[in-house]
Amino acid sequence: MNNPIAFSILAISLIAVVYVSWWSKKYTSTTTDFYVAGGKISPRLNGWAMFGDYCSAASFLGVAGAIALTGIDSWWVAIGFFGAWIFVLVILAGPLKSSGKFTVGDVLVGRFGGNSLKFLAMLTTVVIGTLYLVPQIVGAGHLFQLLLGWDYMVTVFVSATIMGLMVVLGGMMGTTYNQAIQGVILLVAMLLLMVLSTIIYFGGNPIAIITQAMSTVPPTSAVRVMGQLPPPAEGTTYGALALAEAIRNGFQNLPNALTPGVSVPNALNQFSLVLGLLLGVAGLPHILIRFYTVKDAKDAKKGAELTIIGLAVFYIAVLFVGYATMTILYPYLIEMLQAGQRGRATNMAIPLIGMELGGEAVLGIIAAGAMAAMLSTSVGLLISMSTSLSHDVYSGVLRPNSTDRERVVFAKIGAAILTGVALVASIWLKDQNVAILVAMCFGIASSTFAPVLILAMWWKGLTKEGVIAGLVVGLVVSLTFTFARFSNVPEVFGITVLGNPALYGVISSVTAIVAVSLLTKNTGRVREFMALAHRN
């Protein structure tokens, strides 16, 4: 074992998570308790739980790591993650809570009825959830690899197994408490890194982090010119600041870490990314399901406000921590890039800076925070997927007369299978930045559930056929461009593959919804549904 103290802290935090799940089992006697904690969660607790649920490996590891490698352009993923919540709060949270019960499918079926929508909603939930699960397993695998020195294949298997077991142990009540606790751990861990790095390396002045970043060429740019640097004096190596200064002085035309527009390919790519991020949360089932755990629409919005404030603090801290990491770990990051370990450098920069700042103790806290991020999100994903499988399809279509126990067992078996699928995908995508993987899921969500749900809430002319067309077209287009991106295919049918599928997916989905709705007539129980959705 590489880091016994850090691993012990991580192990204690994992045991605490399991204990909370076990303790909360006594409050989970029905499927309603299992799915949405009986709708009894307070807005404040839900706000923290949403924060923990939302801050996944992408937020905690990926974004700060990407900033450390490439500079300010990578901050846009974090800003987009934040912006999405404003969109959800203003346009969706209230009506969604008022018109649904357990799943996204409930909303659509509530207005239009029919088994086809239940099945399609479940399919979309499972696709988004499984793909979103991949970066959590990738991040956890890299983290265990760092702490234990195990092979990546073993670590992803162990990580996926722990995540799957969490769902078997606890329902939504346990998940809520775990997510809330983990949300606090995440925020504290990120602020701890910011404070420690400011005090130890920047004289207690956070602005010095920014000014130092302005004198630093990002490692991804620096690695291209490293071979042209004069070698350091014999028997010595470059220190972090000396190396940054040597590169800055030797190659003055290179951008610094605050120069915008360096790692963004072009405006179209950026627009697709920020559009996908803005609309994405409105289509993420594991986030939307949390609005059903509170009493009413007002409580749903109150919880979202707390989440939004927490995210603002967190993502601003991420920028400072990313820049501090770049400065402090500069030679090490370049070394990893030279060794072709970009994925590892991005995803592990934060645990490594924890080790640098406070040794194994801080590494342990950061590892616990990172594991909290991955577990809380993974469990949220698995709960939302298993709820959809069990509620929308098993009890809704296949076996309406099944018992509560049979439904929960079906949900758990489904969750185990989906964890296995995500595990295989995690092996394929092991060198991808987890933030980019999550951003792709946002692109798919923004092309499927987001337009359908928003129009279902606000457009009387929406028809059932329009919903089906929008979900199918959005899913096919966004998945096609997602896999083309990961397979390095430059064009699909003559259309350039962008970094995020949202632009094509959203346009196709909305066009399909509107066109088919205008050509068909089944608007469902529109007055009943609107009365329900907008009752407060």
Binding site: I86, V90, M214, F271, E305, R535, N536
Partner: protein, 100 residues
């Protein structure tokens, strides 16, 4: 008037959907339209800041994002501004709810 309501199952659906709902007669279309316009206004405020900040940080417009304000590029301030405007819009949205 709030009532418990069971929405009848449409043809082809096996079970009815149970909701705690307002009576259909209470549906106020004008109020829903007002809510929609309020939401759109708030979103426009946020989206203008969000998309302008995002697009100036692209290679095509980076000369704008690179304008130095107190020796720091404008992109840094516009990024922070998105968070500030987001929190203001959040509060405005909740205030509207309280008034409603």
């Amino acid at each position: 008037m709030t009532t418990e309501q069971t929405v009848q199952a449409p043809p082809g659906q096996k079970e009815a959907i149970h909701y705690s709902a307002v009576a259909v007669a209470d549906y106020d279309e004008a109020a829903t339209k007002r809510k929609l316009w309020t939401a759109i206004r708030l979103l426009v405020i946020f989206c203008v800041v969000y998309f302008v900040a995002a697009m100036i940080a692209t290679p095509e417009f980076k000369h704008i994002a690179n304008i130095q304000v107190f020796n720091i590029p404008l992109a840094f301030y516009t990024g922070i501004l998105v968070f500030v405007v987001g929190i203001i819009v959040t509060r405005m949205c909740l205030n509207q709810d309280q008034k409603g």
